[in-house]
């Protein structure tokens, strides 16, 4: 059973208004049967400091990433995780988090790899909820275990690998990192830990659109017209485009993937989660440096 949709007027201009809920909607509906609220943050302890009553925590590092391989968890581990959080296959899941929902969008993208149908973001995330002085608690949430089915991950529609990018040249690429990372002046975003990319620069022909431009100062998504101005007018995307977005490890580009797919309605957007920590270390792949996108090399034939 899915929860009712939020009919907030701002959302109606987006391509898929059903993917967002407002803080006001969540305050009214958070106790609804069939709805599970998930907090997903960059800071692994933030949920423990205080969370929305009844919400459960899912951490990108410790829950969603495979502990050994550089990959996401498999269907069995995802089923075990969601069962332990009280999420059923039919549940409506609303995810919220810190930093303008950056990690919440990442979690939503991983849920989508497993085809979880009704998963939404709280517009404005944790910051907006706090700014409105809505209730937070440190009380543990009572969870009724579910029996989430084992569903195989389906990467192809929304996840790109390095070979996909090599075969994609000539079609739009969006680099969502900071301008300094794009130009190659640095390999990690300002004030973040060095994650060990050997080379600086960007994938040739990629347009630079830092992810946070899609977020307003109160952490909500910018309006439809503002987003159209950024991604269509400025970055040159047009309907029907097949787009790949990337960043450093695929988290910031999940946010952009969400914007392009659900708010602007692009149907073929993939997130390249290998991103710069793979590309910037890979042997014999082309790199462009400086502020210009550079020319697209010929697409590599499919292996």
């Amino acid at each position: 059973m899915s929860a009712p949709f939020d009919t907030t007027e701002k959302f109606s201009a987006y391509a898929h208004p059903s993917k967002l809920v407002s803080t006001q909607w969540l305050a009214q509906h958070r106790g609804d049967a069939g709805l599970v609220v998930v907090e997903s943050d960059e800071d692994v302890l933030l949920y423990e400091v205080g969370h929305i009553r009844g919400s459960v925590k899912i951490d990108w590092h410790t829950d969603l990433n495979d502990k050994v391989n550089r990959d996401y968890i498999d269907g069995a581990a995802f089923a075990a995780l969601l069962s332990s959080k009280g999420i059923a296959r039919e549940s409506t899941v609303v995810i919220y988090g810190d930093k303008s929902n950056w990690w919440a969008a990442y979690a939503l993208w991983v849920f989508t790899l497993f085809g979880h149908d009704d998963v939404r973001l709280l517009d404005g995330g944790r910051e907006k909820w706090l700014a409105e002085e809505r209730e937070m608690t440190t009380d543990a949430s009572s969870v009724t275990r579910t029996d989430y089915p084992v569903v195989e991950r389906d990467d192809a529609p929304i996840r790109a690998f390095k070979d996909d990018v090599l075969g994609h040249f000539g079609q739009p690429l969006i680099d969502v990192r900071s301008p300094e990372e794009y130009s190659g002046a640095r390999t990690t975003m300002p004030a973040y830990p060095e994650e060990g990319a050997l080379r600086g620069g960007h994938i040739p022909s990629a347009a630079s659109v830092p992810w946070a431009r899609a977020a307003d100062t109160d952490s909500t998504f910018r309006s439809r017209s503002e987003l159209d101005a950024i991604y269509r007018d400025e970055a040159g995307l047009t309907d029907g485009d097949n787009v790949i977005a990337y960043c450093r490890i695929g988290e910031r580009s999940s946010h952009t993937w969400f914007v392009l797919t659900y708010l602007l309605g692009f149907e073929n957007v993939r997130n390249y989660d290998g991103s710069w920590t793979e590309w910037g270390n890979a042997v014999a792949v082309p790199i462009a440096v400086g502020t210009e996108p550079g020319d697209a090399p010929a697409p590599a034939p499919r292996r």
Binding site: V44, L46, E48, T62, P190, Y192
Partner: protein
């Protein structure tokens, strides 16, 4: 050589289940002392640890008796970073400069938080320790 208090902190963490290790880190976060007034009035004296994901600033003091003190500040919405700073501030407080410099650089990796917090996040704590040691050397040389 690890100092006695840092070794105790490590044992406290290692004695716990993964989930409880996170809660102990939260206790440390809540215990991070407020900055002494002189640093609140002079934020320019503080050094930003740029390797940390959240804005955290540290300042090392070597007092008249040659003993080490670490002062740190990080936002309330960054409890993990506050916890790291608090472990170092408490574990190193009142030690001689020599003993601070003798703390192994891989101490953050040894306290059993790799699984609960993730190795990537622990790099922030290594950076804090590295910067604290560098500041100590500068104070002693000055």
């Amino acid at each position: 050589m690890t100092t006695d208090l840092l070794a105790e902190i490590r044992e406290d963490f290692l004695a716990l289940e993964q989930k409880d290790r996170l809660l102990l880190l939260l206790e440390f976060a809540n215990e991070l002392p407020k900055l002494p007034q002189k640093f609140q009035d002079h934020p320019d004296l503080l050094e930003r640890v740029v390797e940390c994901q959240s804005p955290v600033f540290i300042f090392v003091e070597v007092d008249a008796d040659g003993l080490f003190h670490l002062h740190a500040t990080a936002p309330r919405e960054s409890p993990t970073t506050r916890g790291f700073a608090s472990i170092l501030a408490q574990g190193l407080d009142g030690l001689s400069v020599e003993r601070v410099l003798a703390v192994p650089d891989d101490y953050p990796q040894s306290i059993g938080l790799n699984e609960a917090v993730s190795p990537l996040r622990l790099r922030g704590m290594s950076a804090m320790l590295g910067r604290a040691k560098r500041q100590v050397r500068e104070r002693v040389e000055a």
